[in-house]
């Protein structure tokens, strides 16, 4: 038998430990996974913003952002939107069943270098809050490393917000400013109402020694930039996370390239300034 190099294509076996239905429409579920092998658990180490391939043997693989913070040990969280073949199959699985995890992959947010010592503004829309949850939890666990932290998060309706219990807990902390908004008035909602770009314009976070991490639908990102630019934000202060179709996760198979870069290997996190130097093939 020819000996193979360390094989990046073989996923770690993992068990589904818990499933939380996140949204009222049932389309988003958070899967808590526990790697089965003790060695795999000990070796695992990720940075907020990285992703992993979730592997359903016989069905396929999907790249999903890691929603748990490295400071949450013993399990991994993945919040998955039911959209295609593999996510649908995953949504039909039960607690105790086996899946595979391949990763962590990609670069993640620079939480331990460029973002350290900065005021952080997290802006998210819809279900794109997953790796930002990981990032926020990591920053709160290392609170002294960052300045002011502001979170602006919106969804269409209250029932479509992710991590609702945590949102409540964060709102009560005094070392964090949260602005949770929904698109339209809804019965029982006494919080902010308005689109994320509008709220971002009203909050008007100072660009002074600051970085913004923005994840959301392209249309939200497009309209969030002008109010920020108006108050002095520049493209190199803004971090975005891309998604493209992926297969290998190693920067080889060619599916996720945006011009010369591979989203899976060189990203998924890029500054807006970096993206201005690339074709818009994402």
């Amino acid at each position: 038998m020819t000996t193979l190099l360390p094989n990046p294509y073989i996923p770690y076996p993992a068990r589904i430990d818990d499933i939380v239905v996140e949204t009222e429409d049932g389309n988003l579920k958070t899967f808590r996974l526990v790697l089965e092998d003790e060695g795999d658990r000990a070796r695992w180490s990720h940075v907020p913003g990285q992703f992993a391939m979730l592997s359903l043997a016989g069905v396929g693989e999907i790249p999903i952002g890691i929603a748990s913070s490295p400071t949450e040990e013993g399990f991994l969280l993945f919040t998955v939107f039911r959209a295609g073949v593999v996510t649908t199959a995953l949504h039909q699985m039960d607690i105790g069943e086996r899946v595979g995890v391949r990763g962590p992959l990609g670069n993640g947010f620079p939480v331990d270098n460029d973002l350290k010592g900065k005021n952080i503004v997290i802006i998210a829309g819809g279900f794109a809050f997953t790796t930002l949850r990981a990032t926020l939890l990591y920053m709160l666990a290392n609170r002294g490393d960052y300045g002011k932290i502001t979170v602006i998060y919106g969804a269409r309706t209250p029932g479509l917000l992710l991590y609702r219990d945590e949102l409540k807990a964060w709102a009560e902390r005094d070392d964090l400013d949260t602005y949770i908004t929904i698109d339209r008035e809804a019965p029982g909602w006494d919080g902010l109402v308005g689109f994320v770009p509008t709220v971002a314009g009203q909050v008007a976070p100072s660009p002074e020694n600051a970085a913004a991490l923005i994840c959301g639908p392209p249309i939200m990102i497009k309209f969030t930039m002008p109010p920020l630019e108006k108050i002095g934000w520049t493209d190199d202060q803004v971090y975005l996370s891309l998604e493209n179709r992926m297969k290998c996760g190693q920067g080889v198979c060619g599916h996720c390239n945006v011009g010369p870069v591979y989203v899976c290997k060189d990203g998924p996190v890029f500054t807006r300034a970096q993206l201005q130097g690339l074709p818009t093939e994402f």
Partner: protein, 357 residues
């Protein structure tokens, strides 16, 4: 480097001896049985196992397919796992037990095809499957004496008498052969083949002269090293937004033949197959010419238009790949020119790209 002199009989002896412990492949004449085939060349050579003392067909140009299938098979099983109920290892992924471990020798590989293995090795440097296949495969190259109609190896940094990627490089001189033994793997093959006599000083100078003469027959439209540097220096957006892409893409039918026959196209897809309780995860050739290549589950497609896909293929070969790895991702074999149903000519595209200011 050791240089040997061989007669045809010596080479035949080598092939026969190698075949005792290895699979020996070479280009052999194939004939198309499909009467509806629109291919002009009804008869062509392609890679086949050399058995019963068969000598490879070396007279007429390149074999139809490149040698990437020996390093990057179509398909490659990445792993298998059981799906059986009650099996404690069900859904646990394991490296395939029945990997093809046979040692292989490829005989009659032309310099362009041999060089493609070195170029593909750049992205596949850490790929366990590609590297395992490479370790068990030896390349006995034959330098070129004639130029194929669609050859442009020199333009992209190759040479008709180049030895890059070869373990042994054979050059025919009139009625005998000279073999340059380049690697340890090549040395091992010489021993197994039963050796040959060392070339004399005079024969070695004849080899050099012959190579220089062939080299001079293969003209190049520009200095290849300069072209490569010029392309790297060019602005990405100037190339990306060049005016000729839409016209070029108009005729393309996105059939993907260029990518499948290209020795240096290496994009792949990964899919699962389930047969009788066993799951195989396989990878196989994919093509950036296909709209599904980039289609996302949401329905969004970053390269949904044909012009974007055509542009991506050429930009990858001549800009993205060199910016990342150094050389062009093209060996100038000309297969894509020969087989393109709508006559897209990569040489013209390269010329157009080099003319972009």
């Amino acid at each position: 480097m050791k240089v040997l002199r061989l007669d045809k009989a010596d080479l035949e002896r080598w092939f026969v001896n190698w075949a005792k412990t290895r699979e020996v492949y070479g280009p052999l004449r194939q004939s198309s049985s499909d009467s509806k085939s629109i291919s002009v060349n009804k008869s062509y050579t392609d890679w086949a196992i050399l058995k019963d003392g068969k000598f490879p067909e070396l007279g007429t140009g390149l074999p139809k397919s490149p040698i990437k299938k020996f390093f990057f098979p179509q398909p490659e099983t990445l792993f298998t796992c059981s799906k059986r109920k009650g099996d404690p290892d069900a859904f646990v992924f394991k490296e395939p037990e029945n990997r093809d471990n046979a040692r292989k020798v490829l005989v009659g590989v032309r310099p362009c095809d041999a060089r493609s293995v070195e170029l593909n090795n750049l992205p596949f440097e850490k790929d366990p499957y590609f590297q395992a296949n490479r370790a068990k495969t030896a390349i006995v190259g034959f330098t070129c004496r004639d130029r194929c109609q669609t050859c442009f190896c020199k333009e992209v940094g190759g040479s008709p008498v180049g030895t890059e990627g070869m373990d042994i490089a054979v050059t025919q001189l009139d009625d005998f052969y000279m073999a340059e033994v380049i690697t340890e793997k090549g040395e091992e093959l010489v021993q197994e083949g039963g050796g040959a006599s060392e070339a004399s000083g005079e024969e070695i100078s004849r080899l050099k002269e012959s190579k220089a003469q062939v080299e001079s027959l293969f003209s190049s439209m520009s200095d290849p090293a300069q072209a490569l540097e010029a392309m790297k220096a060019k602005d990405l957006f100037a190339l990306y937004n060049a005016p000729f892409w839409s016209q070029l893409a108009d005729s393309c039918i996105n059939c993907g033949i260029c990518t499948f026959l290209c020795p240096t196209c290496y994009c792949f897809d990964i899919q699962d197959e389930v047969v009788k309780g066993t799951i195989r995860r396989i990878r196989y050739y994919d093509s950036c010419m296909f709209p599904l290549f980039t289609l996302q589950a949401s329905g969004h497609n970053p390269r949904g238009q044909k012009v974007q896909r055509v542009r991506n293929r050429f930009m990858h070969k001549f800009k993205y790949f060199p910016d990342r790895f150094g050389p062009f991702s093209c060996v100038g074999c000309g297969r894509c020119i020969r087989e393109c149903p709508v006559n897209i000519d990569i040489r013209e595209v390269l010329k157009d790209l080099l003319a972009v200011e």
